[in-house]
Structures are given as C-alpha cells and as structure tokens.
C-alpha cells in the first residue's frame, strides 16, 4: 500500500520524474481547463443561457461572495488565486470516486507546494495592498518584540496548511483502502461519501484560511489594531 502517490513513479530521467501526483494533477488541470474553455467558448449575455454556464456562474459568484464576506476589497483581484485553490482541491477530492485515481492532494509534496504558494502570495498581495514599508511594518505589530513570533507564525501556519490538507486527504484514501480489505461491500461506500464531504470541507478550509491570511496582510495598520475578525477554523 502506497502512502502517497509520489511513490508511484511512471517515468524517470535523472532528476526529472513523472509520478502519479504530477500525472493526476495534469489530468485534473486538463479537465478543469478544457471544461472551462468548452463552456465559456459560447457564453450567452442574454436572459437565456445554458445550465453549464449557470453552474460556472454560480461557482464563480459564490467564491466571489465568500471572498467579499471575508472583508477583502475588490474580490476580483484575488479570485484567480483563491478560486483556483478551491477548485483544484475540491476537484481533486471529487475525482476520488473514480477507480484507480489517487488524489494529488494526498501527497505532501502537493500540499506543500500549495502552502508555499500561499506563503508567497500573502506577502505579494500585502505589499500590493499597503506598500512594502507598510507590509513589513505589520510584522512589528503590536510591538517590535513580536517580530520573531510573527515570523514563526508565518512559517508554522504554512506548515499547518500543508499538513492539514495532506493528513485529511491521505487519511481518507487510507481509510477507504483499509476498509476495502476488511469489509469490502457497503462500508467503503459510506466512507467514500464521508471522504467526499471531508475533501469539500478541506478545500473550503484551505481557501478560507488563505483568504484570511491575505486579508490580514492587505489590511492597513490602522485596521490591524482593530479587533481581529472571526478566528480561522481549525481542523
């Protein structure tokens, strides 16, 4: 039994290797991009539109609404990053109903890469939002003594993001694998359903946490002194 799809190596040439994680990621990317391109190829601007267009519009506007609810101004600016995070993680979890498929998010490498993306995106959005000085100053809040703790917090929350997603996705796949060997009929189906739910919840949590970090970084120093918003969910 493989703990991670990284270990399922299909092709290798020196440092380069093609493992199941990358392959399934490409497959997901292909499905997402081709599907989006096919649907958005002929978008209607009138009152009558296709159900697929309705689905996409509902998804996009729901993500925008969530971003807006977190207090981020101009949500369209963060839509591409946060929306893709959610859609990728959610589709990776949804596809786990396909036999033979292993979600790429069950690989710590993938979740680490996503967490690194968040780690890089937060300061970028923060600097774009309040300038370099303003962003760096936020590390000295509320007092300069807190600088090392803030830095540790940055790293630790990135680590937490990566490990949380990996643990949940991997455990879901592992549980199903173990149960298949014990009770092969009804119970794995129930657990697969639970795994789907867990995957959707994790996608939501990951995206919301990233949004919260970005929101904290883009807020001005005056806003930072105000009481913090809702506490990030812990899982």
């Amino acid at each position: 039994m493989r703990l991670t799809p990284d270990s399922w190596i299909l092709w290798e040439y020196g440092l380069f290797k093609l493992n199941a994680t990358i392959l399934f990621t490409w497959a997901l990317m292909l499905v997402l991009v081709v599907g989006a391109a096919l649907i958005t190829r002929r978008l209607a601007t009138g009152h009558q539109r296709s159900r697929w267009q309705n689905l996409l519009e509902i998804v996009v506007t729901a993500i925008m609404g969530q971003i807006e609810d977190l207090g981020l101004e101009n949500p369209r600016r963060y839509l591409a990053f946060l929306g893709t995070l959610f859609l990728f993680i959610a589709s990776a979890a949804l596809a786990s109903v396909i036999p033979g498929y292993e979600p790429p998010t069950a690989s710590l490498s993938t979740t680490a890469a996503l967490a690194l993306c968040v780690l890089i995106a937060v300061p970028l959005f923060g600097i774009a939002g309040q300038g370099l000085a303003g962003y760096l100053k936020s590390y000295l809040q509320p007092t300069p003594i807190m600088l090392p703790f803030n830095l540790i917090g940055e790293v630790s929350r990135t680590l937490a993001l990566a490990v949380r997603l990996f643990g949940n996705m991997m455990s879901g796949a592992m549980i199903i694998g173990i149960l298949l060997s014990i009770t092969p009929f009804v119970f794995p189906v129930v657990m697969t359903l639970l795994g789907l739910l867990t995957g959707m919840v994790q996608a939501y949590i990951f995206t919301i946490l990233a949004a919260v970090y970005i929101a904290a970084a883009t807020r001005s120093s005056t806003a930072a002194t105000t009481p913090p918003g809702p506490a990030p969910p812990a899982a």
């Binding site: 493992n19 990358i22 990317m29 958005t40 978008l43 601007t45 893709t84 490498s109 680490a112």
Partner: protein
C-alpha cells in the same frame, strides 16, 4: 514520509499555470459575461424607464389634446345648435311670411271673384229689373216707358227745392251753344220728349237753355242733366245702386244687425 522536492516544484509550477489558465478560460469570460448581462439589463431597465416616461408624457399630451378636442367639440356643438336655432327661426318666419302672403293672395283672389260675381249679379239684376219694369210700365200704361220717364224727370225738376234750383239755374246760365248742358239718356230720346224737356227747363229756369242730347246705355233707364259740374238725375241705375248696396254682404250684415 519524505517530501519530494522535485514534485513540490513541479506542483508549484503546475498550480501557477493552472491559476493563469483558469483566469484566462474561466474567471474572465464568466465575469465578463456577467458584467455584460448586468450592463444589458441596466440598459434595458433604462430603456424601459425612458419608454415609460415617454409613454407617460404621451399620455399626458393625449389627455390634454383630448380635453382640447372635447372643449372644441362642445364649442362647435354650441355654435351649430345656435346656428340651427337661428336658421330654424328664420325659416319659420319666412314660412309665416310666405303663408301670410299666400293667404293675402288668396283673400285678394277671393275678393276679386266675389266682386266679379257681385258685379255680374248686379248687372243681371239690373237688366232683369229693367226688363220687368219695362214690361210692367208697358202693361200698366198706354204710354211708352220713355214717356213715363220723361214725365217723372220733369216732375222731379219741378219738385226741386229752392237751393238746388238756384244752383242748377246758375249752372245752366253759364251754358251756351258752344258749351251746352248735357242731357244723357239710356235710350234714344224721341224729338217729342226732347222738346218737352227743353220746354220744361226753359219754363222752370226762365231762360233759354242750350241742350245736347247723348245716349248712355249704362244708365239703363232714366235721364241725367249735367251742366258746369252740377247734375240733376233720375235713373233706374240709382235705384239699382241702392239695390246693389242692399245686396252687398256689408249691407246684409248691417241689415242683420
């Protein structure tokens, strides 16, 4: 559980590419479509509001025009009614006048017919009376009617009162051979009667009288002497005139009264 750093790098790159692709193929087109629809709906709403405003304006204009038309119609109707009334009165007055005129013409015609009938009756009666009188006189006397008439005329001459006699005498005095007194008779007066009347005149007035004798059938019977505007007459026409008066409707009315 080791982290495969090559896979991490590849997934990082994959994710960045996916972000770009999704932005290119999903978010932008969908958001553009939503924005286009919102714009379209806003434009439609604005157009609808404009149409509504225009419709309201047109409705107001229509109502104003309608009001104007109604007022104009009422005014025209009033004028037409007044004109029709005036025309009716005029026509009625004309009709009345025409009726009056027709009535007058009819009355005139009736009067004329009545007069003609009356004259005819008078003429016929006179002739009948004359014929009766002639026959009666002829039956009663052995002298002719003409003689009798002359006798009556002479008798009347003698019966004149003094004033009339003086007036007539003065008038006869002024007569001469050139301007003689005129003796009119309904019939051809025989020479014997002419001489008798001449003698009676000269005897009554004591002077010679120039006399011219004329026959006038309209006198029917009798004699009439006229000189210088003065006249002495005894004719059946006088009696018949009195008969005519008695026969006229006015006389009847008076008689009835």
């Amino acid at each position: 559980m080791p982290i495969d750093w090559f896979t991490v790098g590849a997934q990082l790159l994959n994710f960045i590419i996916l972000v770009w692709l999704m932005k290119r193929f999903l978010y932008q087109p969908v958001l553009n479509a939503i924005a286009a629809r919102e714009h379209k709906i806003a434009a439609e709403l604005a157009a609808a509001a404009a149409s509504q405003a225009k419709a309201q304006q047109q409705q107001q204009e229509f109502e104003q025009k309608n009001l104007g038309f109604e007022q104009q119609r009422d005014s025209l109707l009033r004028q037409a009614t007044d004109a029709a009334k005036a025309e009716g009165e005029r026509l009625l007055a004309e009709g009345r006048q025409a009726a009056d005129a027709a009535s007058a013409v009819r009355a005139t015609a009736l009067q004329r017919d009545s007069d003609l009938l009356h004259a005819e009756i008078v003429r016929h009666t006179q002739q009948q009376v004359l014929a009766i009188a002639r026959r009666v006189l002829a039956d009663l006397a052995d002298v002719s009617l003409e003689q009798q008439l002359c006798a009556v005329f002479i008798q009347r001459l003698h019966g004149l009162d003094a004033t009339a006699l003086a007036t007539l005498g003065n008038a006869l005095k002024a007569t001469s051979a050139a301007d003689p007194a005129l003796l009119r008779s309904a019939f051809d007066l025989p020479a014997q009667q002419q001489a008798a009347i001449q003698a009676a005149l000269e005897e009554r007035f004591g002077q010679p009288v120039a006399l011219k004798v004329e026959t006038a059938p309209e006198l029917i019977g009798g004699l009439e002497l006229s000189a210088q505007g003065q006249k002495l007459a005894w004719t059946i026409a006088d009696y018949l005139d009195q008969l005519s008066l008695a026969l006229s409707p006015g006389a009847d009315g008076e008689a009835g009264a």
